[in-house]
Subunit: 250 residues, 2 copies
C-alpha cells in the first residue's frame, strides 16, 4: 500500500506546490516509485512541470467524476507519474453534493494504486472540500510553513480541520511533519518564529530546513524539478536531505 | 462617494493583505479618510492589526447577514476605520444562495458609507464568491504580483473573472493597477518577470515597486502598520510613494 502524503496549509504561498514537486522528485532520486497528484484548480504543480494545464482534457477532475480512469489521465514526467489538474477541478468544489462519495471520492479513486511507494498530493490554499478529500485519504500530512507572523496564526485553524477529519473520516490521519520553508537564517523573524514552532510541535518539525534559494523559484519557468535545474544548489541539497529524513521516519 | 479598491489575486502569499493594510495606512498619512475591510475568513488583516479575530462577535459576517449594522462593527485603528473578519465569514461562501443579494451583498452594505475617501477591501486567495462580491462593488482593482513564474500563470484566470464580473454586474470595474511586491532587484527572475508584465500591462503597472524588506513582515507581529513600526525603512518609503501615485492617478 502506498504511503499517501498530503501537502496542506490554507495560508497562501508557503511552498506547498514547491514541496510537493521536489519531495516527489527527491524520493524518485532515492529509488522510490511516486505518483504526484495536483489537487489545486490553479494547477501550479502542473504548470511547474511545463505542462499546459488549460489545454488538457484528461485531468484529475474527469477521474473524480469517474468519466476517465486514473491510468488514462497519468503523464510521465521526470521519472514520476503525474495526475495533472486544471480549472475544471473547481467544479468538484461547486458540485459537492453531486459526488455521492463526498469526502471519499479521492480516496476511492486512489484505492486501486498498488505499484507506487508514495502518493504525494498538492492541496489548494484553503481548508475546503478539496483539502478535506485529500485529508480523508492521506496517512501523513506535511505542513510547509514560512516562518513569519501569519504562519503561527493559521496553524490553529488547520489543526482543527485535521482533527475534525481524523474523528469523522480517517482515524489513521496524523500530522507527520512540519517543513520550514524559504528559511533565511539571517532573519531574526525566521529564527524567532522557528523557535515558537519547535517549542509547540517538537519532533514533528523536520530537522531539514528548506532554505530560501532563488533557483527553487526559477526551476518552474523551465518546467524542471530542482534536481534537474540546479543539482548542486542548496535547494537541491535541502530537498534531498528532507527526502532522506522522510524515508528514515517510516 | 468613496473610491472603492479591492486587492485581488487568487495566488497565495503575494502581498494582498500587506498591501491592503499599508496602502490604507499610507493614504491615511496623506490626509485621506479610509475604511479598511477584511474580506478573508482567514482574517490575516485583522490579526496583523493586533486584533484577536477569533474572539470577535462583531465582524463583517453579521454585517453581511444584516444582523448587525456596519457602524456597530467598526473598530478604529491607526487612524482608520476597520471592518474586521474571522472564520464565520466562511459561512457566506457556504450559504451563497441564502444571500438574496448574492453578488451585491457587500455592495449594498457599503452603499451607506459617505464620510470616507477610500474603502480598501482585502480579498482571499481565490476567485470565488467573496472575491466576486468585492469585484461587484469596486471601482478599482489593484493586483499585487510577486515577480515569479506562477505570477504570470495566474493572471489569465484572474483577468477572465474580472471580465465576467465587468460584463454581468459592474460596468465601472477596471484593473487600475498592478503592484510589484517583494521585489529584489538583485534577482534575475524578478527583473525578467517584471519585464514581461510591463510589456503586457504597460502603464497599469505602478511605477512604485514594493521592495522585499524584512520589517514589512515583522510589523504584523506587533500589530503595527509599516509607518508605525519602521517609518524610516524602505518598506515605509515604498508604500508612501505608492500612495502618492494612487492619489495622483485619480
Ligand atoms: N525555498 C525557496 N526558495 C525560493 N523560492 C521559493 C522557495 N520555496 C518556494 N518558493 C517560491 O515561492 C512562491 C510560493 O511557493 P508555492 O507556489 O510553492 O506556494 P504554495 O503554498 O503552493 O502557494 P499557493 O497557496 O498559491 O498554492 C513560488 O514562486 C515559489 O517558486
Ligand atoms: N515587501 C515585503 N517584504 C517582506 N515581506 C513581505 C513583503 N510583503 C509581504 N511580505 C510577507 O509575505 C507574506 C505573504 O504576504 P501576505 O500575507 O500579505 O500575502 P497575501 O496575498 O495576503 O496571502 P494570502 O493569499 O494567504 O491572503 C507575509 O508573511 C508578509 O508579511
Ligand atoms: Mg500551490
Ligand atoms: Mg491575505
Amino acid at each position: 500500500q502506498p504511503d499517501i502524503i498530503a501537502l496542506c496549509n490554507q495560508k497562501g504561498g508557503v511552498g506547498k506546490t514547491t514541496c510537493a514537486l521536489n519531495i516527489a522528485a527527491g524520493l524518485t532520486l532515492l529509488g522510490k516509485k511516486v505518483l504526484l497528484v495536483d489537487f489545486d484548480p490553479q494547477a501550479h504543480l502542473t504548470y511547474s512541470l511545463g505542462i499546459a494545464a488549460h489545454d488538457l482534457k484528461k485531468t484529475v477532475y474527469p477521474v473524480m467524476k469517474a468519466s476517465l480512469s486514473l491510468a488514462d489521465a497519468l503523464l510521465e514526467h521526470s521519472g514520476m507519474s503525474v495526475l495533472p489538474a486544471n480549472m475544471t477541478l473547481t467544479e468538484m468544489e461547486n458540485e459537492q453534493t453531486m459526488f455521492s462519495d463526498h469526502e471519499f471520492t479521492l480516496k476511492n479513486k486512489l484505492a486501486g494504486v498498488r505499484d507506487k511507494d508514495y502518493i504525494i498530493i498538492d492541496c489548494p490554499p484553503s481548508t475546503g472540500f478539496l483539502t478535506v478529500n485529500a485529508l480523508a485519504c492521506s496517512r501523513d500530512i506535511f505542513i510547509p510553513l514560512q516562518m513569519e507572523f501569519l504562519a503561527l496564526k493559521g496553524m490553529g485553524r488547520l489543526m482543527s480541520r485535521i482533527e475534525e477529519v481524523q474523528k469523522s473520516f480517517n482515524k489513521n490521519l496524523k500530522i507527520s511533519g512540519i517543513i520550514a520553508t524559504r528559511f533565511d537564517s539571517r532573519k531574526k523573524l525566521n529564527n524567532a518564529i522557528m523557535e515558537s514552532i519547535s517549542e509547540r510541535f517538537g519532533d514533528k518539525v523536520f530537522a531539514t530546513v528548506i532554505r530560501e534559494n532563488i533557483v527553487v523559484a526559477e526551476a518552474p519557468s523551465f518546467g524542471q524539478t530542482i534536481f534537474e535545474y540546479a543539482p548542486k544548489s542548496h535547494g537541491a541539497e535541502d530537498f534531498l536531505n528532507l527526502c532522506e529524513e522522510i524515508v528514515k521516519r517510516k
